[in-house]
């Protein structure tokens, strides 16, 4: 289904090299998506003669000429991936080395993808989030750096409350970044992660199992509906307590879709073409999910429990308005935190004890 949305966007997008990217993406199993790079020998046959340094110079120039954003970083991350490292700095030691034919072929097909504006994170198939590395596959939402700070606030609060254990529900887990980073950082934490996309659930499970967190992170394919209930579709890998409308949690955390629909068409092609737009489209005011989320949270939080949200900077004011307007929900807006760029980005809400 996401493929359809890509094709739709494609019509709007006018980069001539775009035709290559559709080949990049193939669904090769009924419920999972993998990435295949187009194989094309665009570079001269004597590419083997170039050093890593030359390759970086040539490709960054080409990217720049074709209007690709972050041209230098793009090729550096691709080279780093091809030589098997996560750190761009490691390239410095091998600038004079040469790549073998296989590596060059891989590199060139990856660069083709980048020319089609595919995000680097999808091209190399992974990115770092705090202390963990998560596998990333289009069109599942690529974790944003701001969200690392959201995790910080949750961990700090956990520390200050000195809880012995902490049950956390995450709504809309995507690749699993938040829940997995939380469980990875603190042994006391047990997460239940839900997402409306089965592909997102699958990816979270893959990432979870790589981090050996299966015993503390449960993934459930479920949707938060507009009537503020959660409908469970499928239990994945032995979740036991399935009725998410009855269980109580210490914390609820979410980075829900919050981009107002009118902004979607102005987003970078990287996002517009490759990411599942349902992961970020928050409806007219960006609050489409946030409103039922507040109501649902009021039901499933333990007294004294807390909700942590990442939102658009226009939203904290509404959330404060909401908690004041509906005292029956017993929610109290505790704090709005800024991101590094001084935007009001995170909200902490407390359920009255």
């Amino acid at each position: 289904m996401w493929c359809r949305s890509i094709l739709k966007t494609r019509a709007v997008f006018s980069n001539p090299s775009i035709s290559t990217y559709v080949q990049c993406l193939t669904i090769n199993s009924p419920n999972f998506v993998t990435l295949r790079h187009p194989v094309r020998r665009s570079f001269s046959s004597n590419a083997c003669d170039y050093t890593v340094g030359d390759i970086i110079d040539q490709w960054s120039r080409r990217f720049e000429n074709e209007g690709i954003t972050e041209p230098v970083e793009s090729i550096e991350h691709i080279v780093a991936h091809v030589i098997g490292t996560k750190k761009i700095i490691d390239i410095l030691n091998v600038r004079n080395n040469r790549l073998n034919a296989n590596q060059i072929e891989k590199l060139e097909s990856m660069c083709e993808c980048r020319l089609s504006r595919m995000p680097v994170q999808y091209i190399i198939g992974e990115w770092d989030f705090r202390d963990i590395t998560v596998k990333l596959v289009p069109p599942i939402f690529i974790p944003r750096p701001e969200t690392e700070i959201l995790v910080d606030f949750v961990l700090k609060r956990l520390n200050s409350l000195q809880l012995d254990s902490c049950e956390i529900l995450e709504i809309g887990c995507g690749s699993g970044a938040i829940s997995l980073a939380l469980a990875h950082a603190c042994e006391k934490i047990k997460c239940t992660a839900i997402d409306t996309s089965p592909y997102a659930c699958d990816l979270t499970i893959i990432n979870r199992d790589k981090l050996n967190l299966a015993n503390r992170v449960t993934v459930i394919h479920a949707t938060l509906k507009s009537d503020a209930t959660v409908e469970v579709f499928k239990e994945l890998n032995g979740a036991s307590d399935m009725d998410l409308n009855l269980r109580l949690f210490d914390f609820v955390v979410s980075n829900p879709p919050y981009v107002p629909t009118k902004h979607i068409s102005k987003l970078q092609p990287e996002i517009r073409i490759y990411e599942d737009l349902r992961a970020l489209d928050g409806g007219d005011d960006g609050l489409k999910i946030i409103k039922p989320l507040l109501k649902y949270t009021a039901k499933v939080l333990k007294p004294g429990g807390r909700l942590f949200l990442e939102v658009d900077p226009t939203h904290p004011e509404y959330i404060q308005f909401f908690t004041n307007k509906y005292p029956d929900f017993k929610l109290h807006h505790e704090h709005t935190y800024k991101d590094f760029c001084n935007n009001d980005r995170f909200v902490e809400v407390v359920k009255a004890a």
Binding site: G53, T69, E70, E73, S74, H77, K86, K87, I88, I89, L92, N93, R95, N96, P119, V120, Q121, W127, D128, F129, R130, D131, I142, R144, P145, E146, E148, I149, D152, N255, P257, Y258, V259, H263, L267, Q268, E270, I271, E275, L280, E310, D312, P313, D339, F340, C341, N343, R345
Partner: protein, 412 residues
């Protein structure tokens, strides 16, 4: 001690023998613990103890220093700042014992003066007490020395920068970089390059490595100017060149040691402008932090995770602020501390690596020349041994400096 004093001569001897035997055993077992290792490896101190038959100046100085410390300890009102180097919690009871011993010796001497009959007996007892006093003094000194160099940090930043010698100096930085990376692996430290500037010919202009672990203090004395003498690979005429690189060791203080107020920070990221969050895709996770009170700026772009870049930048910032803070303090004690951390020796030529002669010479030590340069450059046991020698040497020199200073200030 009180117990020992009541025991018979014979038993007392045994105790002492056991003490020495136990020390030797520990030596064999090569326990790699700081306090143990400095307990065993105190060459000069051992001399001081064994050579009490022919007292030398060093012994005399230390003995008088300990007398002074004991006296000051009893005198509760005294708040001599030289106590900064003494951990009274661990040393307190030793000082109590010492007071007793000294009193006993004094009493015996008085007794011998009064009573000729008792003289021989008293002399015997006195020898014994003196032996105990020697043993006690050694332990006291161990404790004090440990404290003098106890500055230890969970992590440090080691910075290597090319000095004179152009291209060749940058190749030398690369050699040193590899040596310290090897050393970090050998010591089982976690190591992470947090900054690097290279040139096109495989050389390194500047590199910073963050090291953490239990044994970071084993790099404490690496700071200073390192010199290389060799025929550069690029040199056709076969002439020996001399080039340099400077090494700085920056201890990274804890969040408690250097408290930074969030309000004093301006954090810049790629996303500084624009909507951010879900609106943006970027791989640029670089973070720059500006410390507003002084305008100092640090940055990090090592990691793909932005928050980790911020953490590293904060570590850098704290280290720099810490160094600045130490530099501002100009008391005798604070200068000593900086010296111990190798912070005062940044411009001092500390070591020469001579490739033609296959040797390394550390200029701070007498007999500081070692051979087998290739092995040394791997950063293994050879470097560790050298660090241990430097540690002992500098510990002792520091103590003497304290004592000398004390002598000029107080007459004891």
């Amino acid at each position: 001690m009180t117990q020992i004093r009541r025991m018979s001569l014979l038993i007392r001897r045994c105790r002492l023998d056991n003490y020495w035997r136990c020390m030797k055993l520990r030596n064999l077992a090569k326990i790699r613990e700081l306090h143990v290792s400095s307990l065993i490896n105190l060459g000069p101190v051992r001399n001081f103890c064994n050579s009490h038959a022919s007292p030398n100046i060093l012994e005399d100085k230390i003995r008088r220093y300990l007398d002074y410390v004991t006296k000051e300890y009893k005198n509760e009102a005294s708040k001599s700042n030289f106590f900064e180097f003494i951990d009274l919690k661990t040393v307190g009871h030793l000082l109590d014992d010492r007071t007793h011993l000294v009193e006993n010796i004094q009493n015996l001497q008085d007794l011998a003066k009064q009573d000729v009959e008792m003289k021989k007996l008293a002399k015997e007892e006195e020898t014994l007490y003196k032996e105990q006093l020697n043993e006690l003094d050694e332990r006291l000194l161990d404790n004090i020395l440990i404290n003098i160099c106890k500055e230890s940090y969970d992590s440090i930043i080691i910075e290597i920068t090319a000095g004179v010698g152009g291209q060749e100096a940058m190749l030398f930085v690369k050699d040193l970089y590899e040596m310290y990376m090897g050393y970090a692996k050998y010591l089982d430290l976690t190591h992470e390059v947090i900054d690097m500037e290279t040139n096109d010919n495989n050389g390194i202009r500047h590199v910073s490595i963050l090291l953490s672990g239990d044994e970071t203090y084993k790099l404490q004395y690496e700071g200073g100017v390192h010199r290389v003498q060799r025929i550069p690979a690029t040199e056709r005429s076969g002439r020996v060149h001399t080039s340099t690189a400077s090494v700085a060791i920056l201890p990274t203080p804890s969040k408690v040691q250097i408290v930074i107020n969030d309000k004093d920070l301006k954090i810049e990221t790629k996303r500084a402008s624009g909507a951010g969050g879900q609106h943006v895709n970027t791989t640029d996770s670089a973070v720059r932090i500006i410390y507003l009170p002084s305008g100092l700026s640090v940055s990090c772009q090592m990691h793909r995770s932005q928050i980790k870049n911020k953490e590293v930048a904060m570590i850098k910032l704290r280290s720099i602020l810490y160094e600045q803070q130490l530099n501002k303090q100009t008391t005798f004690i604070s200068e000593l501390r900086q010296k111990q951390m190798g912070m005062k020796s940044r411009n001092e030529k500390v070591r020469t690596y001579n490739y033609n002669q296959d040797r390394v010479t550390d200029h701070r030590l007498q007999n500081g020349t070692m051979y087998n340069l290739p092995e040394f450059m791997q950063g293994g046991v050879a470097l560790e041994k050298l660090e241990e020698r430097l540690h002992k040497d500098i510990q002792m020199k520091t103590l003497l400096e304290i004592i000398n200073k004390l002598q000029t200030q107080i007459k004891y």
